[in-house]
């Protein structure tokens, strides 16, 4: 079964049509569904007017679930689907090295493991909605997550300017190119 791809509205389809070359084809397609997010071109949901700000206004966001005995941290995508990265104290791999599954040590170590897994999955920037003053355990989690090399802030979406617009914002994908 081959997926049939159309070039109707590239911002919402999962192809990236790109153009211009000499002897090469004028259009090629990058089918990587995460490509536009990495280039900051993909649509970031704007949310509804009365919604809590930041509820779904991200590409990737970190979510922390606390139950009476265990904690589970996951990275979710605003487009839905199962979370690409998960770490939990329920996992034997983590559980066997912990004294308790919901004390400060568990929270900070869960942050480290999640950060390591995020980088292995190619997610360097995550939106973090857990407020910093929510308690020393959550703070320890956030600190360790940041220490592991993950940026807890997503870059803003690049909006292609209309010809009549005053400014031409810098193209984020050209900034990092060497």
């Amino acid at each position: 079964m081959q997926t049939v791809l159309r070039r109707c509205n590239p911002l919402f389809s999962f192809t990236t049509p790109v153009r211009l070359s000499c002897s090469f084809p004028s259009y090629i397609y990058n089918r990587n569904p995460r490509n536009l997010e990495k280039l900051c071109i993909a649509r970031k949901p704007a949310g509804y007017h009365l919604e809590r700000p930041g509820k779904y206004q991200f590409w990737h966001s970190v979510r922390l679930e606390r139950s009476s005995r265990h904690i589970t941290a996951s990275v979710i995508h605003s487009g839905g689907g199962s979370p690409p990265v998960t770490a939990s104290t329920k996992e034997w791999a983590l559980r066997r090295w912990l004294y308790s599954t919901n004390d400060v040590g568990a929270y900070s170590n869960l942050g480290r493991v999640l950060g390591h897994r995020c980088l292995a999955t190619g997610i360097q920037e995550i939106h973090c909605d857990l407020s910093h003053d929510s308690g020393h355990k959550t703070q320890a989690f956030i600190q360790e997550l940041e220490k592991s090399g993950v940026t807890l802030k997503e870059p803003p979406q690049y909006v292609n300017p209309a010809p009549s617009d005053r400014e031409r914002p810098e193209k984020p994908w050209l900034v990092n190119e060497n």
């Binding site: 089918r31 490509n35 480290r112 292995a120 190619g122 360097q124 060497n178």
Partner: protein
């Protein structure tokens, strides 16, 4: 299960560990966590990451698999090792040489390793390029396998963004005859590297079982240009850019009321004509031998000529301040 419970009880009775944990000084060994993780929930996490990156959709259509065999892939670039996990980003210069692939295999078992990219095919949208294919690997020794396509470094073109490079390990039930796919090595013709994992697997599904998965993403760097010119003998290296959708223009009206006529008309003018006007103006200002004039500190303080219409004043202000279309040309 009993051993796990006794281990947990041991931790609970460990006073030193308790103190460390209470003071937030307990540090879990990440490498040991990863070993256990791969033996327990790791395969499911790799599958979730692969679904997030659309790997199964683009390689197998509706099918998927759980990669139960830990596939350890790393590149050696200079002195450091660059590992491949499940979607991490690499530069093509780091992936210039053939990677080292390790996996646990019983002696005598046969394996096939494929490295493909489903992104940025030059001829067809839904095809893949195979970068490496080694068949009949005996007992996990990749270097002793039968090389069908030799290794070619990733070549994401300039401006296309990040392409996925996917390693899939198949377990063979017996020796597989790859003579139909054999190419003259080194294979430097890109159209000979056109590949479809779906077709490849459909033909050999009785003999192959997908067992391991690892993939990374790479974007353009200068090593791609040198690869295209020197190794692949291409005369030029292309530069692509994302094709944004056209801005919306409402259909023209016979009588556009309550709208400034200049802004309304500008919306429907020929783009080429506009570009020409801006370029001619720019060329008039520039002198071939003199340096450009320094910008004014207060460009808007220059008085307009008497009798200049207001719409023209707006245009002149925009030009002086560098607003709008002047930035495009």
């Amino acid at each position: 299960m009993a051993s796990r419970i006794s281990e947990i009880k041991g931790n609970k009775n460990n006073i030193e560990m308790e103190n460390l944990s209470r003071e937030n000084k307990l540090v879990v060994p990440l490498d040991k966590v990863e070993d256990d993780w791969m033996r327990t929930v790791g395969p499911l996490h790799i599958k979730a990451a692969a679904e997030h990156y659309g790997v199964f959709d683009h390689l197998y259509g509706d099918a998927y698999f759980v990669p139960n065999v830990a596939l350890d892939v790393f590149y050696t670039s200079g002195a450091d090792e660059v590992p491949v996990y499940r979607g991490n980003t690499l530069k093509p210069s780091q992936a210039a040489n053939c990677p080292t692939v390790n996996f646990e295999a019983e002696p005598g078992s046969l394996w096939t390793l494929v490295m493909t990219t489903p992104d940025c095919h030059l001829e067809s949208e839904n095809s893949e390029y195979v970068h490496w294919l080694v068949g009949n690997i005996k007992g996990g020794k990749v270097s002793e396998g039968e090389t069908i396509w030799d290794y070619l470094q990733p070549f994401p073109f300039r401006g296309v963004g990040y392409c996925r490079y996917i390693f899939v390990l198949y377990k063979q039930t017996g020796p597989v005859d790859y003579s139909a796919l054999k190419k003259t090595l080194p294979c430097l013709n890109l159209s000979e590297r056109t590949f479809s994992t779906y077709d490849f697997y459909c033909e050999r599904q009785d003999l192959l079982t997908p067992a391991g998965l690892a993939f990374y993403q790479a974007d353009w760097d200068s090593s791609v240009t040198s690869l295209l010119r020197s190794t692949l003998n291409m005369t030029s290296s292309p530069v692509y850019s994302y094709d944004f959708p056209e801005p919306y223009r409402p259909p023209q009206k016979w009588f556009p009321l309550k709208q400034p006529f200049n802004l309304y008309m500008d919306r429907y003018r020929d783009e080429k004509q506009i570009a020409k006007e801006f370029v001619v103006k720019k060329l008039k200002r520039t002198h071939p031998f003199k340096p450009p004039e320094p910008p004014l500190q207060f460009p808007n303080c220059i008085p307009f000529k008497k009798g200049t219409p207001s719409w023209l004043k707006l245009e002149m202000r925009k030009e002086r301040l560098g607003w709008g279309r002047i930035n495009d040309y």
